[in-house]
């Protein structure tokens, strides 16, 4: 049997000509620490990375083309599959863009349903990231604790969305199902339980000496580097910029809640870790306030059966668990979008990896990749 040892197009492009004293290493696409199918080509000098280049596209599904061939309502399920960990934020970005284009006013109750479910989803996303990141660094137990809590939140969301992972429960003009008392009681119980759990997380992992050694002063991203690569979300906030779409361009009813935007000035992987854990606390605060403010009312606005936005374009951004999710939507007046562009935060966050990982140990690069909180289907779309 003949093996072609020249590599494929990307590795040949990466390694132009023979190398001396360095080694080209192909990390992924099937590698447990890449959480899916991310492939990174690295040139190593001993244990140190000279340069790195992520190779994308293994999970590319061309959502933007699908958007141009489906009607507005038919495209909603796609959004739950772009980022399976924070699906509701993508739901929101899309329906929000259509609503902005058509000038639809969403009923107040529906906004609360959206806020509560979206924040629950954010907590779930951060919990999974937390477990998976610690597992990347060699600690297997914490992910099981994280899944314990995640399961509880999933059970809750299943009640009002009907699914456990790829949520697509938002509709243009509202949501598919109202919250009932069982759900609200469950949410209250979840919010009451989580602070204790977060304390346990801190004792178990955050204060762990070995863990801190793997995170502190590793993968430092100065603000200028973050801006150069358009990083958003916890990656940016871990560099000390208090930028959050929920505060910067308040959409929906986020201006009614009292919450802070956690930041860390250390700019390293530990900073990003702490920001995400603090965000869980802030999301819990938003949910608690939303449940208190709740009032009765309809959950769907009156929208035409066939969605035909007027000619025009819009850009709608929401804050996802990984950063700024943007949908650029252009309508030509027909029942199918003319152009739909999905701005994925993970793509921008990953693009700084090459520069960030330069000169670091390979084992630290795994820590950096984990601290960026990548979701591959969202990068590849």
């Amino acid at each position: 049997m003949n093996f072609n040892l020249d590599g494929d197009f990307y590795s040949r492009n990466f390694q132009q000509g023979p190398t001396e004293n360095t080694m080209i290493l192909n990390l992924g696409p099937q590698h447990p620490s890449t959480h899916g199918v991310l492939r990174v080509l690295v040139e190593m000098d001993g244990e140190y990375i000279l340069r790195a280049e992520p190779v994308l596209g293994y999970l590319h599904r061309m959502h933007e083309k699908m958007g141009e061939s489906k009607t507005y309502n038919q495209f909603i399920p796609n959004m739950g599959r772009v980022d399976y960990l924070h699906a509701l934020a993508w739901n929101w970005a899309y329906v929000g863009a259509v609503e902005q284009l058509m000038g639809i006013e969403v009923p107040e109750r529906a906004e609360y349903v959206r806020v509560i479910s979206c924040e629950l989803n954010r907590i779930m996303s951060h919990l999974l990231w937390w477990g998976a990141y610690v597992m990347d660094l060699g600690g297997f137990t914490p992910i099981l604790y994280a899944f314990d809590d995640r399961e509880r939140a999933q059970d809750l969301l299943q009640r009002i969305t009907g699914s456990r992972l790829t949520y697509s429960s938002f509709r243009i003009g509202g949501v598919i199902q109202d919250m009932d008392d069982i759900f609200l009681d469950g949410v209250k119980a979840f919010c009451a339980r989580m602070p204790e759990r977060l304390k346990m997380y801190k004792n178990l992992v955050t204060d762990n000496f070995i863990f801190r050694k793997r995170c502190e002063e590793i993968g430092e991203i100065p603000v200028e580097m973050a801006r150069k690569y358009g990083a958003t979300g916890p990656v940016l906030r871990g560099s000390g910029v208090a930028d959050d779409v929920r505060r910067a361009e308040p959409y929906s009813i986020y201006d009614r809640f009292d919450f802070s935007i956690p930041t860390q000035d250390t700019t390293d992987a530990m900073g990003r870790y702490l920001v995400r854990l603090d965000e869980i606390t802030q999301s819990l605060a938003i949910i608690t306030q939303a449940v208190d403010q709740l009032s009765e009312g309809p959950i769907r606005a009156k929208v035409p059966k066939v969605i035909k936005p007027p000619k025009g374009e819009t850009y709608f951004a929401v804050e996802g668990a990984r950063g700024k999710i943007g949908v650029f939507l252009v309508s030509d007046g027909s029942n199918v979008p003319y152009r739909i562009k999905l701005r994925s935060p993970s793509l921008s966050n990953l693009s700084l990896f090459s520069e960030c990982a330069k000169g670091s140990l390979l084992a630290d690069a795994i820590s950096i990749l984990g601290s960026l909180d990548l979701v591959i289907p969202e990068i590849d779309r």
């Binding site: 990307y10 994308l56 596209g57 083309k65 150069k228 208090a242 025009g312 850009y315 943007g326």
Partner: protein, 175 residues
């Protein structure tokens, strides 16, 4: 007029049109229509003024392919959109990836989807599509294309043509 795009960089850039947009309807504050040769200057000026690049995308239409650059600022919503037009026969435009590294991948994505060649790009290989894909999926058939100006209905064209003189006046004073 407050919230004007930074006047100090606007004077470096000659745009052939400037449009103010209803922010709540379009999510964009300013649309700036640029000639190719002004693009790099505009990107540099925006970047120096503290903006970051959100994304680069294209849109296929009757007049050609519109290349759209979304810029924004941290901590306050002020999306500025740069737009240039390239013809179908010769889809070429200068790269801005040496000014803003974030553009590197976004330009590669546009190269995949629209076949736009960004001249000067250091590594213009497919990003998301396979290397032998053969066609550009987001280009539309000729009868499906609509006019690119249709989508700008929520924008009010101001049409400031900033002249390239030694000391141009601050446009915010004119308002």
């Amino acid at each position: 007029m407050k919230d004007w795009i930074p006047a100090e960089w606007l004077k470096d850039v000659e745009s052939f049109d400037l449009a103010a947009c209803k922010n709540e309807a379009t999510g964009t504050k300013w649309n700036l229509f640029l000639q190719h040769q002004r693009l790099r200057k505009a990107a540099r000026a925006l970047f120096d003024a503290g903006y970051f690049l959100e994304d680069i995308t294209g849109m296929d239409g009757k007049e050609g392919i519109e290349v759209i650059y979304h810029f924004n600022q941290y901590e306050k919503p002020s999306r500025v959109t740069l737009r240039t037009l390239i013809v179908h026969e010769n889809p070429e435009i200068p790269t801005i990836s040496d000014i803003i590294p974030a553009a590197n991948w976004h330009e590669r994505e546009c190269y995949d989807f629209f076949g736009i060649t960004f001249t000067g790009h250091p590594n213009l290989i497919p990003l998301l599509l396979p290397d032998n894909f053969g066609f550009h999926p987001l280009l539309k058939k000729e009868d499906k294309r609509v006019s690119l100006f249709d989508s700008l209905s929520n924008c009010q064209t101001i049409g400031v043509k900033v002249p390239c003189v030694e000391s141009p006046e601050n446009p915010s004073d004119k308002e």
